[in-house]
Symmetry: C2
Subunit: 567 residues, 2 copies
């Protein structure tokens, strides 16, 4: 990462199409209690109000920015060298970790499909880091000891979005009747610590992913959005996936899951991690399955454990682990219309059936915790029994697993391992509340992370919309992060346009939830945009939009003249 | 309307692009108690289930069809002669109406902007019909006398969607916890009558629009969707608007509002009405304003009354009338961020301000009722004070008007005039319930007809989505009809693609609401599609979709081979 003026043309592979500043926007940093704690924001500059109604109009609005260094026009990002390690010093200063020279990722056997072939290894290698002598380096561990880390302070500044400086006189607060939050008007580092300590929020940050900018997932904070990317045996190269990740965070993805299958899983992930300023999640069983040539029955604890360590050493920030798929619950799916649709869930169900015993994910859960806490990888406890259709929503199989996930949450917390819970799926509007209430109760308020849910099954090709409706609703009721769904869901792999559309759609759902939860300051941007609209300040209206390009383009179709945008 | 084989090529102007059957679908008719009572449905044919799980799979699914004669491949529709008068006999048989020879529409003065110029008059003219000697010919009037009309029977058959014949064993009913309805499992004509009689539902059907197929708007029935079309001084011809109407009903618009302004308002409406099988709504004040050259202060009761009669004679099925904008409520908007954004509302506010008196829409309301009942035009009481931003949602101005609309509903009902109430607009998720509850209480359960609402203001260019989220929610809670919003909202006039996308998006919202309300049989289509998906019957999955083209196209991008769709 260098000054842009020194960046030779062509080396910035992540340039132009997927990066670049938004119109009338600039990168701002808010510095915390130490000079290397600089929190990025996007500052949207407003034009002068034409009418002048006496009220002082703010000159700019600060918004949450997930774009990382790619959103800073003064920086040059060469994806072949990766991003700078923002958190390297913070991690080192704690003196509780060490680098080591015989990592699993180097000693990996050739049975790791795709290793070394094709895409090429990431050019820069470094020794992985782990906790010293079996210690615990999770943010939850620190939080429970009363330690406020720089990561927690970063998160607090980030969540406030510089609201303190904004003119809040304009905001007529709406009374919040449902889904309200118990949180202070201004987020403090100490508040972040307390939420992480009690498990109500997580800061997914592997110590081997120092490039990541801290962010928090919890229902007393802004609702977050995850974007899935990943290549398959069929399509897309490693570079496509890196570009897709950078594209996703440009539009607001708070975390990215790499769901790659097929060849080059390891390399793809390495390229993504080294270039990602947002936490990266994976489903390790996918890679484990590649290692046993796709035969679920051949999976074993050893293969899975090695995969976890390999990915932890690379820096994956959270693992989806389907440890709640229990042998005794499998018969509960017999009355379903669509069986088990979770890929991880069906892999484990197949294994359990074949071996007639409980899965190693469940029986070895505390051994998994030992790995998680040595690197600070967070759990995303997978819902392998999630419904694949409205018909199967809220059934016995789903809720039996949810109960198990609650038990596992307690186990993870015993080890101070950060944990969130994955949720459905396909749920009609009137059954969404039950999902949320049961999750809060049975999983002890651990953050909920849902896929949609889709509120109808009759609109393939529009499932970004069917799921954003459910997402807004469940986000309002308390879900902490929404996994986006693109219009290609059920139909194919999303391309760049689908990814952008999916993220913008889910930013709408997440923001609608923030507004409905009465999140302080959530309406600042809405009010600024509405005021611009009322005063015919077209450019401000476009620039304040979640996607400035779309309204500009649509408006130009009717009134292309430049003059029409100023009045 | 003739047999297709007799239709000379070229005369069917509404052919090809905007009509034509959907793949693997055919038109079916269910005949009622008399041979001329034939209710159209779309029958979607399913392929054979490959696996064969023992359960009998239905061979087809019947779905509600708004496409009218354009959805019947055996018919030829020439838009220059218009559709057949389906209801002509039903109206004539009641012997309570008469045709007359000096209609307002023929005696209209030249101050009716655009009359006779440009587009050309509709080729076929007929004498309008009105009630005999000041009588009342509304469906509500009949209903209150205990008369079950053919229109009511038509509606009952239509709402049931031939569910009686479907295999309901597959349906595990979900318990309905909120927003549930009080309605029988099967809709009977008598039930329709009782709902219309008590004002909880309306059947908008002007006696001068016999081409319209009866449909019902009420919260114990399927949630309906309205699409707005209309040309402006700037763009689009009369033929474009007719084509847009036919396109809108192909995708499921239950009613269409013609919001034309500028020249040729009268002709455009005539072409639309004569070719529309769905009820048409208008905002008569728009045309009245054209007649006074756009100067709101020059409006008068006389101009407005003549416009109402002119449009009633043409066959408009419901009028948006902003009679709730009262002089004393105007100061309540002073603290708003975005003032009065309803066009009709701001016209009337300007008039009230200029004349310093109550608007003629309010003071002459019972005279308006006299016109409505002579033709059976339904009221859509406009919300001239609706919020134009989240900031202004649920404020004093909005709710003061709602209370007035409740008083006017009582007045309309005194005259047995069918009435629905228009609602917002821009409302955050947590304030939607208050809108619905107050509307039910203050407007005595008259049907609610809302525009969205948009649940955030930060996404211009995606307002079909921001509003579908609010639409699904308020539909679930009891709104009877949702006015679609396209992605061009706030930005420009929608083109054909925008119209289709807007309608499909709102069909999703309406269907999600039907599911959440526990509407009997609502999940049949979802279950059939989910089963097809689970069994990899791709073609069935596409054909059962709200938009069969989109999933087919998206799937083809990844796996274009025909063979991939059968397995």
């Amino acid at each position: 990462m260098n000054e842009n003026r020194n960046c030779p043309r062509g080396t910035n592979s992540a340039e132009s199409a997927v990066t670049g500043e938004f119109p009338h926007s600039r990168r701002a940093y808010l510095t915390g209690s130490r000079p290397d704690l600089r929190v990025p924001m996007r500052e949207i500059l407003l034009t002068d109000s034409p009418g002048g109604d006496g009220a002082a109009k703010p000159a700019s609005i600060h918004v949450y920015d997930t774009a990382g260094p790619y959103g800073d026009a003064t920086l040059c990002c060469d994806i072949r060298s990766g991003l700078a390690g923002l958190r390297e010093n913070w991690i080192a200063e704690r003196y509780d970790t060490e680098t080591y020279s015989d990592p699993a990722l180097l000693s990996e056997k050739s049975n790791c499909a795709g290793r070394g072939s094709g895409a090429g290894a990431f050019p820069v290698s470094r020794a992985p880091r782990r906790s010293r002598s079996g210690g615990n380096v999770t943010q939850m561990h620190y939080a429970r000891q009363g330690i406020v880390t720089p990561e927690m302070e970063f998160v607090a500044i980030r969540e406030n979005q510089r609201r303190e400086g904004a003119d809040t006189q304009q905001q007529t607060p709406h009374p919040v009747r449902e889904g309200g939050m118990s949180r202070p008007a201004v987020i403090t580092p100490e508040y972040v610590r307390s939420e992480v300590a009690r498990g109500r929020a997580i800061i997914p940050l592997n110590i081997n992913h120092p490039e990541a900018e801290p962010m928090i997932i919890g229902r007393n904070f802004l609702v977050k959005v995850n974007a899935n990317i990943g290549n398959s045996a069929l399509a897309s190269s490693v570079m496509d996936e890196v570009e897709k990740m950078i594209w996703a965070i440009r539009w607001g993805a708070d975390t990215v899951m790499d769901l790659s299958t097929g060849a080059h899983i390891h390399e793809t992930r390495e390229w993504i991690l080294r270039n990602s300023p947002v936490p990266i999640g994976t489903v390790p069983i996918y890679q484990a399955l590649e290692k046993v040539a796709g035969v679920a029955e051949d999976l074993s604890w050893d293969v899975f454990r090695d995969t976890l360590v390999e990915q932890a050493e690379q820096g994956v920030d959270y693992f989806t682990i389907h440890a709640g798929v229990r042998l005794e619950h499998l018969p509960l799916t017999s009355r379903r219309l669509t069986g088990i649709v979770s890929r991880g869930g069906s892999i484990m169900a197949k294994w359990c059936h074949a071996h007639r015993c409980e899965s190693f994910l469940y029986t070895r859960f505390e051994e998994i915790c030992e790995i998680m806490k040595a690197y600070d990888v967070s759990f995303s406890l997978g819902d392998g029994m999630r419904p694949g259709s409205l018909h199967d929503a809220n059934d016995e199989a789903q809720f039996a697993e949810l109960k198990t996930l609650g038990e596992l949450t307690r186990l993870a917390w015993k080890h101070d391992v950060q944990t969130m819970i994955e949720g459905p799926g396909h749920v009609p509007l009137h059954l969404i509340r039950e999902n949320m209430e049961l999750q809060l109760e049975q999983c002890h308020e651990a953050p909920f992370y849902t896929l949609g849910p889709l509120v109808t099954d009759v609109a393939p090709g529009y499932d970004h919309i069917t799921s954003a409706i459910g997402g807004a609703m469940i986000g309002w009721l308390g879900t902490s992060m929404l996994c986006y769904v693109t219009r290609k869901e059920h139909l194919g792999l999303p391309d760049k346009d689908d990814v952008k559309e999916g993220i913008v759609t889910f930013k709408i759902a997440a923001h609608a939830a923030d507004l409905a939860k009465g999140h302080p300051g959530a309406r600042l941007r809405d009010d600024a945009l509405s005021k611009a609209r009322f005063e015919f300040r077209w450019k401000d209206q476009f620039n304040l939009a979640l996607d400035p390009e779309m309204p500009q383009r649509l408006h130009d179709l009717t009134l292309p003249a430049e003059a029409d945008k100023a009045s």
